[in-house]
Symmetry: C2
């Protein structure tokens, strides 16, 4: 693709108009249109559509709206919404995040076709923001536990330098964004409606804060209302944007489960946070771990480990606490156990109690005394307190 | 081995005396002694020890106590304790549970050597009780959540016909026993002290109830006090007795983790119950799942599935709830989403909203009306409520 910075203003404008038209004319995902655009470029595809000369599968995707869409009006509305249109020709386009969507479309997963263009509201450069990102998703009707964990993960991942990607919904999504914001980090929200639509209604302030420290992104033109199926369609952008998808809480059947499946089919690790088995909010997470679709994670460190290049150091198992007697050999520990259970015992009594040969007990006792585990008195041997 | 029922009373008495002596003279596990007994039988081994003619590794295991142990006194004390001595020659010996311990000793795991004999207090026949058993173990300092889950699992497994095996400790163990008792099922407690010792002190009543509906079992002679290392040694009997070991709650470093590792090395499935990642009581369970040592389980059905013969039916994933619109094809669902977002819309408006060709929308609307998803009025199309 040509270097965006070197293109003249007129050419840029032509590309933007063409992409705006194409993004608005078909309901995403539009696999036939996306493939046609990938092969011929946006301007030629617009021409073909307007002359009714595009292939039938493309025409079926654009037929309903092609009379109504005005690219000029779309770019005006974009400006009014305080947004910009980001296109694949632009340096700001997050190629590394989305090229797997095009690849999946080509190998027969039309439902995850790449977006034609993205409307972006926010300060962050999208390519930079999504270069090192982790998706954190989960149930809207989350538990207090789930919201707490999501906020902690959002905070910790942002502190570790990752952009937190989510869907701005109530519950887990909102908590993840808020955690990242509180850490002063970057966060990106992908919407199932226009970037100028405050949805959910109670998250208007949150969305403005996300735009301040990151970006609010949508493949739907400004003014587009949310629709049920758009949430599922939008999920593929979240799944593709993260190096991994962390599912904090998910019921038996959930949008987060859908995002996780898409992430999995795109080759992104799916990480699931466990919870009480008595909570319906963790049923989906546990099911993913049991079926092998997700890896169980319990800390930010484990998430970072999962998205770090293979071979980078990181402990898998939680380290237990160290006890003073850990250094003792098995027989010395056994003798120490007997000392703990007796008071002023002879070597003979200790040998019978722990079942070790008397000679060995006589040799071990001074060793335990020297290392501060046993004390000798007139009454006999006792454990050192 | 000879048929126990056909042996004369005198021979039985000889075997019991020999086994009682051998069980008491060495501190378990006594791998050299166990191997020597497996090769030569208990009576000949007692003779060899008393003449000082046993191999040096065996003599080292028995040296400290061989002057003090009186087999006759042990059998008297057994009777006084209301217990019986169960030996491998006896039909009541749970061969299927313990033969893997002998096998592990032979291939170089001396720390899990088989017991020489077992003291049993309780009504249940030990072989029958342990024929279909599941070990349920976990932290002493359990959370309310952990105790609740443990009691539920104990109850459900007992109802499903399994004997619940545990260690009678406070917390998870006690809750598992109590759950099984409440279900009127069978439960077996393995102790790290004599079967006549109420340990922990607050569980005296529980242990009597376990003996009523199952068995209280120990490889330590009556009167033996608990010692720290004896809990770890006892754990191998719990691990070997269950077809699987369920860990309900375990900290980063715990006895339950030790039981799980032993179960794993004996080829028993280890099943771990997840919990909140904010609880230190679940750190061990989560670590086992992450390292692949344990399978995550969230219900009694999943435990039963894990211990059932391969090929028996059982769903792995929790089934989600079914929605009315599940039967609709993708485009019909998309149109239905648009109907939900509009009120009294024309086919044309609906086509533009959902991005489907007008002809297709016109064909789908009557279908949705017939199946009760859409209604037509003077104002246009709306969703059926």
């Amino acid at each position: 693709m040509a270097d965006w910075a070197k293109l003249g203003a007129k050419t840029k404008r032509e590309v933007l108009l063409a992409r705006a038209f194409l993004a608005a004319v078909a309901e995403p995902p539009a696999p036939a249109l996306a493939g046609f655009v990938a092969r011929h470029g946006p301007q030629r595809v617009v021409e073909a559509i307007q002359r009714g000369k595009a292939p039938p599968d493309v025409m079926a995707e654009v037929e309903a709206r092609c009379e109504d869409v005005s690219a000029e009006q779309l770019l005006d509305a974009t400006e009014v919404a305080g947004a910009r249109l980001v296109v694949p020709e632009d340096d700001e386009w997050p190629h590394s995040a989305f090229e797997d969507l095009a690849g999946a479309r080509e190998v027969g997963l039309p439902e995850v076709a790449e977006p034609i263009a993205l409307w972006v509201r926010g300060r962050a450069d999208l390519a930079t923001a999504l270069d090192q990102a982790v998706a954190v998703v989960g149930a809207r009707a989350a538990s207090g536990y789930g919201e707490h964990v999501s906020a902690e993960f959002g905070h910790g991942l942002a502190q570790a330098g990752f952009t937190v990607v989510s869907g701005a919904a109530y519950g887990i999504d909102g908590a993840a964004h808020r955690g990242a914001l509180a850490a002063g980090g970057r966060t990106v929200a992908f919407l199932a409606c226009g970037v100028d639509v405050d949805y959910p209604a109670g998250h208007g302030r949150l969305l403005r804060a996300v735009a301040e420290q990151g970006a609010v992104v949508s493949e739907y033109p400004p003014g587009t209302s949310p629709r049920k199926h758009r949430f599922l369609v939008r999920n593929r952008l979240i799944a593709a944007s993260g190096r991994a998808a962390v599912v904090v809480e998910a019921g038996a059947r959930s949008g987060a489960g859908n995002t996780a499946n898409t992430a999995d089919s795109l080759g992104r690790p799916v990480l699931a946070v466990p919870g009480p088995i008595t909570s319906k909010n963790s049923v989906g997470c546990h099911g993913m771990v049991r079926s092998g679709r997700a890896v169980l994670v319990t800390s930010i460190e484990e998430v970072v480990e999962a998205v770090s290049p293979i071979g980078s150091p990181g402990p898998v198992e939680t380290v237990g606490t160290h006890r003073r007697t850990d250094g003792l050999k098995p027989h010395a520990q056994r003798l120490h156990d007997s000392l703990r259970g007796m008071e002023g015992a002879s070597a003979d009594e200790l040998a019978r109690d722990c079942g070790l040969p008397l000679g060995e007990v006589r040799a071990l006792l001074p060793e335990l005394e020297m290392s501060g585990f046993a004390v000798r008195s007139d009454r006999g041997w006792s454990v050192a307190r």
